[in-house]
C-alpha cells in the first residue's frame, strides 16, 4: 500500500471530531462508543504505519498536496514517530474506554471533540517535518488541553486551567519569536533544510533562537521554572485526561524540543544550550521529587512523580550523545506505559470512592485488589526496582550521564530516586497494611486494561532486549541528522 495513506493519522481524528455533533443526535451513549470506535481505528492505522516503518527500515514521508519539501509541508514518520504515534493512539483508545465510565458530566459531545483534537495535536507534533506546522499542532494540543483541564467546571478546575493558559500563552509567544529568528536568519521553515543550513547560521542568533524555543517548549514539557501549572492541571482535570497528559502530551513537547535541538547540532553555540537544559532538567527532578514527598492527594503526588520522570528524560536528551538519546526514548516508552496504568488505576479509585485523598486509599488492597495490584506494580516500577521496565531505562540514563562526565547530575538524580522510593512505599504501606474493608466490585473492562498494562511492564522488565532494540532505532532517528536530511526529498532550493 502507498505510504501516503499515513496522512490518515491526521485526517481521521480531524474528520471524526467534526462528526461528533451529528452523532450526539443518536444519544449520549452513542458519543462515548463513537469515541471508542474512532480511537480503535486510529490504533489500527498507527499499528499499520508502525509495522511498515519497522519492516522496511525506511521512514514514510507524507507530502501535503504533493508539493515537495521545502515548498510544501511534509510529515516525517520515521522510527521515532511511528513508535510514538502508535503509543498515542493506544493510550487514547484505553482512555476512551475508561471515559465511558469516568465521564458523567455534561456536555459529552464537547468532551469527545476535545479528546479527539488532543490526540490529533499530539500525533501531528510528533509526525511533522515543518517548524511552523509544529507550532500549529502544539497550539491545537495546548488549546484542547486548556479546555479539557477546565472541563469539570469547578473553581479548582478553572483556576488550574487559567494558570496553564497564562503560562502556555507566554511559552507559545516565546516559541514563535524563536521561529521568527530562525526564519529570518535561514529563510526556511522545513526542518531538514534547517538542519542542512544550520552550520552557516550566526552563532548568537542561533543561540537566542534555540534558547527561546527551549523555553517555549518547556511549558508544554513541564521543565522546572515553567511547570507550576502541571500538578494543578493533573489534579483538576478529568481522570482519563490526566493519564493522556502524562502519557503523551508532555512527551510530544519534550520530543519536539529534542528534535529541534539535534537538528541544529552544527550551530557553533550548541553546547551552551545543552548545558542550560542539563541544569533545568536536574532541577526539575529534584524539585518535583521533594514536592511529591509532602502531598496528601494521591493524584497530585503521582503528578509530581511524573514531572520528575520527564526531568530524567530531558536530562538524557541534553547529554548530546547517542547513548543518552537512546536511553531517553526507552524511558519515554516505559514511562508512558507505567504512568498510563497508574493514572488509570488511581483515577478509577478516585471515581468510585469520591476523591483521591490518601485517606481513601486505606485498605485498598482488601477492597479493590485489582486496582491495588496495578498501583503497586506502577509504584514499584517507577522507583526502578530490577525486573520492572523502568529499572533498565533509568540505569541507562545514569550510565549515559556518567559517560559524559556530569557526575553531579547523576548523583543528584539518584538521590531524588531515593526520595521517590520513600513516598511510593508510604503509599503502598497505606494500601496494603492499613485499614480494613470488604471486597467491592471492580469494573471488568478497566480491570483488564490495568492487567494488560501491568503485563507489559513486567514483560519489558524481564525481556528488555526487544523494546531496547526498538528504542535504539527510534533514538538513531533523532540523533542521526545526516540520515534525516537524506531521507527528506528536498527540492533543489537554496541547497
Amino acid at each position: 500500500m502507498n505510504g501516503q495513506y499515513a496522512s490518515l493519522l491526521i485526517a481521521l481524528p480531524l474528520i471524526s471530531a467534526f462528526f461528533v455533533p451529528l452523532i450526539k443526535g443518536a444519544g449520549k451513549k452513542a458519543v462515548k462508543y463513537y469515541l471508542v470506535l474512532i480511537t480503535a481505528l486510529q490504533t489500527g492505522i498507527a499499528a499499520w504505519v508502525f509495522q511498515q516503518v519497522y519492516t522496511s527500515g525506511k521512514p514514510i514521508i507524507v507530502m501535503a498536496g504533493a508539493w515537495r519539501p521545502p515548498v510544501g509541508i511534509n510529515l516525517y514518520i520515521g522510527h521515532f514517530a511511528a513508535l510514538f504515534v502508535f503509543i498515542v493512539a493506544l493510550v487514547s483508545f484505553l482512555m476512551a474506554v475508561f471515559s465511558v465510565r469516568a465521564i458523567q458530566v455534561e456536555p459529552i459531545d464537547k468532551y469527545a471533540m476535545l479528546f479527539l483534537l488532543l490526540m490529533l495535536g499530539a500525533t501531528g507534533m510528533i509526525a511533522t517535518g515543518d517548524i511552523f506546522n509544529l507550532f500549529v499542532f502544539m497550539e491545537i494540543t495546548a488549546i484542547s488541553a486548556y479546555a479539557l483541564t477546565a472541563y469539570n467546571k469547578t473553581g479548582e478546575a478553572a483556576e488550574a486551567s487559567l494558570k496553564y493558559i497564562v503560562l502556555g500563552g507566554i511559552g507559545s509567544s516565546f516559541f514563535l519569536i524563536g521561529i521568527a529568528l530562525i526564519y529570518g536568519s535561514l529563510g526556511t521553515l522545513n526542518m531538514a533544510q534547517i538542519a542542512q543550513l544550520a552550520g552557516g547560521m550566526n552563532a548568537t542568533v542561533a543561540q537566542v533562537g534555540l534558547a527561546l524555543i527551549v523555553f517555549g517548549l518547556a511549558v508544554e514539557a513541564e521543565l522546572f521554572p515553567l511547570n507550576a501549572w502541571a500538578p494543578d492541571a493533573y489534579q483538576a482535570a478529568p481522570h482519563p485526561i490526566t493519564a493522556m497528559f502524562s502519557a503523551f502530551v508532555v512527551k510530544a513537547g519534550i520530543y519536539a524540543m529534542a528534535r529541534l535541538l539535534y537538528l541544529m547540532q552544527a550551530v557553533g553555540s550548541w553546547h551552551s544550550v545543552l548545558k542550560l537544559l542539563v541544569v533545568l532538567a536536574t532541577l526539575t527532578v529534584i524539585v518535583a521529587e521533594l514536592a511529591a514527598l509532602r502531598q496528601k492527594n494521591v493524584k497530585r503526588m503521582i503528578a509530581y512523580s511524573s514531572i520528575a520522570q520527564i526531568g530524567l528524560i530531558a536530562l538524557a536528551f541534553a547529554l548530546g550523545t547517542q547513548s543518552g538519546v537512546d536511553a531517553a526514548v526507552f524511558h519515554m516508552v516505559n514511562h508512558a506505559i507505567v504512568k498510563g496504568m497508574l493514572f488509570l488505576a488511581v483515577g478509577y479509585v478516585a471515581m468510585s470512592l469520591g476523591g483521591a485523598e490518601l485517606e481513601n486509599f486505606r485498605g485498598l488492597g482488601k477492597r479493590m485488589p485489582l486496582m491495588a495490584f496495578g498501583i503497586s506494580v506502577g509504584a514499584v516500577a517507577t522507583v526502578g526496582i530490577p525486573l520492572f521496565n523502568i529499572f533498565w531505562s533509568k540505569i541507562r540514563i545514569i550510565l549515559a550521564t556518567l559517560d559524559v562526565g556530569y557526575t553531579w547530575a547523576a548523583v543528584l538524580v539518584l538521590t531524588a530516586s531515593v526520595v521517590e522510593a520513600v513516598y511510593y512505599f508510604r503509599l503502598l504501606h497505606v494500601i496494603w497494611f492499613q485499614g480494613e474493608g470488604t471486597k467491592t466490585d471492580e469494573n471488568i473492562a478497566i480491570g483488564l486494561m490495568v492487567l494488560f498494562l501491568a503485563t507489559l511492564v513486567i514483560v519489558i522488565g524481564i525481556y528488555p532486549d526487544y523494546a531496547w532494540n526498538i528504542a535504539q532505532k527510534a533514538g538513531a532517528d533523532i540523533f542521526n541528522v545526516a540520515d534525516y536530511i537524506k531521507n527528506v526529498p528536498l527540492m533543489g532550493v537554496g541547497a
Binding site: 511552523f132 486548556y146 477546565a150 473553581g155 483556576e159 500563552g169 507559545s172 509567544s173 526564519y183
Partner: protein
Amino acid sequence: MISVYYFGAISLILIGLYAVLVKKNVLKMLIGLSIMETGVNLLLVSVGYISGRSAPILSEGIGPNQAVDPIPQALVLTAIVIGVATTAMALSVAMIIYERYGTLNVEEIRRLRG
C-alpha cells in the same frame, strides 16, 4: 541602527510580559498576554519586509520581484487566529472563576495548593 519595527515589536512583547508578571487582576493579565501576541505578530511580519516593495499579490505590473516575502504573512494569519482562540478560551475561564470565587484577584484565587 535598529529598525523602528523591530524596536516597536520587542517593546510590545516586553510591555505585555510586564503586564502578565506584575498585574494582579486576571483581566489585566489577559490584556498583557494579548499585547504580547500582537508584538510577536509584528515581529514576524517585519522579518519578511523588503524595503520598497509592495504587497505580494500578483497583478498588472507587480511581479514576484516587486513583492515582499509572503511566507511571514501566512504565518501571522495563522498566529492571529490562534491568539484569538486562546484569548476566547481564557476569557471564558475567567468568567467561571468570577462565578466560583467572586473575585478576579490572582492573590485570592488560591484553592489549589499542595
